[in-house]
Symmetry: C2
Subunit: 122 residues, 2 copies
């Protein structure tokens, strides 16, 4: 039983990894929307405000990609102890993208909701 259970847990974990694809970009833009933040601040802030746990290996490639696509931009600044921080903020283009992504997300949530409800007769 324990083994079956752990196999199920592994499957769910793999699936949840897939489920996050795309969502994380939206999450980053949402989180940067109000004010600039640096990488570690993003990780801890998102963990505190939601049940999402991002790791560095996840967030830094993501931030680089968002910057390359001109959705966010960065500036370097000294922190207190440790390597200099890189503060990221949303560009105007990023805000337009954020609006489109929010719409797409809302539509997807509505679709799953509709399919969760009992099927109507035919």
């Amino acid at each position: 039983m324990t083994q079956e259970q752990s196999r199920l847990d592994d499957s769910v974990a793999r699936w949840e990894t897939q489920l996050r694809k795309g969502v994380l970009e939206l999450v980053i833009l949402l989180t940067l929307r109000e004010r600039e933040k640096y990488g570690f601040e993003l990780i801890s802030g998102i963990a505190k405000r939601s049940s999402l746990e991002l790791s560095e290996g996840t967030i830094y490639p993501l931030l680089l990609r968002l910057a390359k696509d001109d959705l966010i931009e960065s500036r370097l600044a000294q922190g207190d102890g440790g390597a200099p921080r890189k503060y990221y903020s949303v560009t105007p283009h990023g805000r337009r993208m954020l609006d489109a992504m929010t719409a797409g997300w809302t539509k997807l949530v509505a679709s799953v909701d509709a399919l969760t409800a009992p099927e109507t007769d035919r």
Copy 2:
């Protein structure tokens, strides 16, 4: 402007493709939950009940994978004209997985909701 707009649209389309990853497995299991259905019926039924448009190239590999993982099973039956239909239904293991996936989905939606709300002071 038109060119900028179409570039944005392309980006959004690519992103929405990523956003669907994982969700489609949940959608299939949800749709098969009440009664067995065959591939084409799934595509048209999902399109009718939601705003999701799946294509054959999307759904068949997915169905094969779900069957290989023992989340669904299939039986062959004749339809009226055309190739024989393959009816898919959810296995007991698939129902357990569906429960876990529904929980994971709900948690994700709640997380995005929480990050959409204005940031509270610190």
